[in-house]
Amino acid sequence: MATVLELRGITKRFPGVLANDAIDLTLEQGEIHALLGENGAGKTTLMNILYGLYQQDSGEIFVKGQPVTVHSSRDAIAAGVGMVHQHFMLVTVFTVTENVMLGDEDVHPGGVLNRKEAAAKIRHISEQFNLDVDPDAYVKDLPVGVQQRVEIIKLLYREADILILDEPSAVLTPQEIEGLFKIMRSLVERGKSIIFITHKLKEVLEIADRITVIRRGKVIGSTTPAEADQSQLAEMMVGRAVQLEVEKDACRPGKCVLQVENLVVLDDRQHVMVDDVSFEVVEGEVLGIAGVQGNGQTELVEALTGLRPPFEGKIRIDDQDVTRSSPRQITEQGVAHVPEDRQMDGLVLPFPVADNLMLNTYYLAPFTKGVVLQNNKILENANRLIQEFDIRTPGPMTNAGSLSGGNQQKVIVAREFSRPIKLLIASQPTRGLDVGSIEYIHGRIIEKRDQGTAILLVSTELDEIMALSDRIAVMFRGKIIDILPAEAATKEKVGLLMAGVIDVAA
């Protein structure tokens, strides 16, 4: 095996922080090298340097033994380095071919695009690497997993040998992740080399040939899946021992808090998304709602929190009918809501952290006196919660938008958990977060449960559901097809239920 890429002593400084501190990294031909680290550890910065989006302050880059200077992504591509970003760079109303040609157009004399030839080349690449992409399809019609493959084709089309995949699994379903891994394997079999950026331990152990862990801008160490296990990797990432399993005592159920009867909810296009659903959540228990994304969980939560009026059915909280209550009335009933999309619903990103920490109670004492906001109290509250919930922010007046994802989520958790609540509705509470943050948020949820709060947990991560729930409800096509006690729920059984298979021999 030959070394195709070598980074030597890469250092990058941003105002106030050392993002990369003398990082060394080598990539051999035909290997999948995982770059593992928490959010904000400096992985993406490093790759952006390699890809020409930033310039390193010091250090050198060698591609196939030759020193290269990368000033733009064009230079990177020319050197054979290609990157698939976490957020795709595709024009959705263009076809696959047009997207792939974009920026590297092959034209007939006179400037007419030579689509045919490009499409043929794409088809060839697609077959060669088992990508299964139709060059004539419109990107907007493709599922996310296939869109990702279009991004990969873009790189292969430009003859990149070194592929950087930045958190490729973050946007994919479990099945799509499997598909992605197959493609990654077929890519390396055919001589490509891959840098795989992630913070998910399981994936690393499954797919990587070599693992390099980065923490706070420094390389902590390198290992291989054979030599390391999850807890070792987690410890390297976070810098301390991490509790991967959630420790919890037996459930002590109390009286019923949330009661849902024959609930029917429609989406914006008037399709039935929640179909005749009934369940209860009692004090001191976690009811987990498992299911593949898009089976009505979003609409269910919106109905429960007052964001979407139900079509039929009843919702009762503490024996009070809240079926058509407004979000504010429901909040005032003692319901906390950790929304599915933290940036869209949970936070006002251009607002300071302090304001976000009182976003739904700002109009109450002590934050408002008369009509005037009490800045002292708002800041006091913020400083206290920042400490208590360990929110990493330069200060309470920093905009929420400039925090990392994990800390943004902590802002929401701090806000929702810090007021007296009877019911917590948490939707995808750890999506996209790193190990340390997940551990923290899980701990807090269980703490709330032990204090007697009723908890409704909605997650598409089966592991998360299994780890936290006392009872597990499985949602499929808008219906709750079964509710199992945690003891009776095996991963296989719940997995089958999630796929809609009801008749399982236990």
Binding site: F351, V372, G395
Partner: protein, 442 residues
């Protein structure tokens, strides 16, 4: 948007040391004002933040002046005549033309020092008046700009794009004029507030309509406000040729308002500086207080920044939309009332020379912040008021001012150009709101 999403976090919460005042209680008002004026409030030292905030507008004005100078030179006969002599002669003339023009403009806006010198020499008070007159005219011209700019800025903070300030100014003027001349025999202390608030009410109603339509039906406020502008213009035409026409006059003009409804002037003629300026500053402070110090303002800003999160947090998004437009209308309406009660003392057709439209520009130039709006309005006011003198003394057409305004705005609206010209770095944090945001029709 910045590409960076993986910057290391600053380790551990520094919070604020308890001995340091964490907030407003110990800071003076000016400091807090500036805190909120600047986008991200903690990433950089304060001085640097203020610098960054004013840098682009400042450079935009400078660049506008430079390019405007080129226009002045190119449209001047003198330059071409000199160019025929020699290139050097041409360049010299070019500079002297620009210097004379801007000099005359500046004197027109801020007063000619020669007059002040003449006053000291002769002791004739007429010279002193002559010296101060341009400056006070600048202030007077900026009043409707302040009201209009506040109107657009307030709506924009709530995520609404108020193109209807001009129509709202007309409605305000109509209401104020009517109350001004129709009610007689009450003292000024009652009549002035009554007429002024009537103006605010007129604008309020005219702003309420598009706000309500947006909240109820989703009709985009840009379209409806533009249409309402036309209705307002024609309405005033009709009124001035009918019910509100001055008895015995053939011109489209209303009766003069009662002296008791006139905003007080502080000096003798010809200086027209009047109480409206103080009202405008008070309005600016009130808007600032409302947006940043009250729970309602919190509603407004949250809805404007992220309506989804606002709804999640229990705010009534539709109500805020309606109310923000209505209040924006009220501010513009006050601008209209001000023109009637402070300057014209009657309502004539086309009394507003596009103040409402320039207000959009002023709000933009002032970063949609009351302080910025006041500064931008003063700039526009002085630019406008100085232009007349410039035309008279140098023969440069007054339209050059419009070109300059347009250039400055283009540069402010597209800060990328300014950053490219002066090789400035993109600011680290993403800016609070972008103008395009409102166009998504959220």
């Amino acid at each position: 948007m910045s590409v960076e999403n993986d910057t290391p976090e600053i380790p551990s919460a520094q919070g604020s040391p308890p001995d340091k005042p964490v907030n407003g209680s110990k800071k003076d008002a000016g400091q807090i004002l500036i805190e909120e004026f600047t986008p991200d409030r903690s990433a950089q030292p304060r001085r640097k933040r203020i610098f960054q905030t004013i840098l682009v507008p400042f450079l935009a004005i400078l660049t506008g002046l430079i390019i405007g100078g080129v226009f002045i030179v190119l449209t001047s006969e003198e330059f071409y005549t000199a160019l025929q002599v020699s290139l050097w002669e041409g360049i010299k003339t070019a500079f002297s033309i620009v210097a004379t023009t801007y000099g005359a403009w500046f004197n027109g806006a801020f007063g000619d020092w020669a007059n002040l010198a003449a006053f000291f020499e002769t002791g004739d008070k007429a010279y002193l008046v002559k010296f101060f007159y341009p400056f006070t005219e600048g202030l007077v011209t900026s009043i409707p700009y302040i009201f209009g700019g506040l109107s657009v800025a307030l709506a924009f903070r709530a995520g609404m794009f108020n193109i209807g300030a001009e129509g709202q100014i007309f409605l305000g003027a109509i209401f104020a004029a009517y109350i001004g001349y129709a009610i007689t025999g009450i003292p000024a202390i009652l009549h002035i507030p009554l007429a002024f608030l009537a103006g605010a009410l007129g604008g309020f109603l005219w702003g309420f309509i598009p706000g309500f339509l947006k909240a109820r039906t989703g009709a985009h406020e840009v379209i409806t406000t533009i249409m309402l502008n036309y209705i307002a213009f024609r309405l005033s035409d009709w009124l001035l040729n009918g019910p509100m026409q001055r008895p015995g006059s053939a011109n489209p003009v209303s009766p003069s308002i009662m002296a008791s409804a006139e905003l007080p002037r502080f000096f003798d003629d010809p200086i027209r500086f009047h109480g409206g300026f103080i009202l405008a500053l008070a309005a600016a402070y009130l808007v600032y207080w409302f947006l940043w110090k009250t729970k309602w303002g919190f509603d407004f800003r949250a809805v404007g920044s992220n309506p989804h999160a606002a709804r999640y947090a229990g705010m009534k998004v539709a109500t805020v939309m309606t109310l923000s437009m209505a209040l924006a209308g009220a501010l513009a309406g006050m601008g209209g009332a001000n023109e009637v009660m402070g300057i014209n003392h009657n309502l004539a057709s086309a009394f507003s020379s596009g103040y409402g439209f320039d207000s959009i520009a002023i709000a933009l130039l002032g970063s949609n912040h009351p302080l910025g709006v006041v500064l931008a309005a003063l700039l526009f006011g002085f630019m406008r008021s100085g232009a007349t003198t410039m035309m008279v003394t140098t023969g440069i057409p007054i339209d050059i001012v419009s070109i300059l305004q347009a250039l400055i705005l283009a540069f402010v609206a597209a800060p990328g150009i300014i950053r490219a010209i002066y090789r400035l770095k993109q600011p680290v944090s993403a800016e609070g709101i972008t103008l395009a945001g409102s166009w998504g029709g959220k």
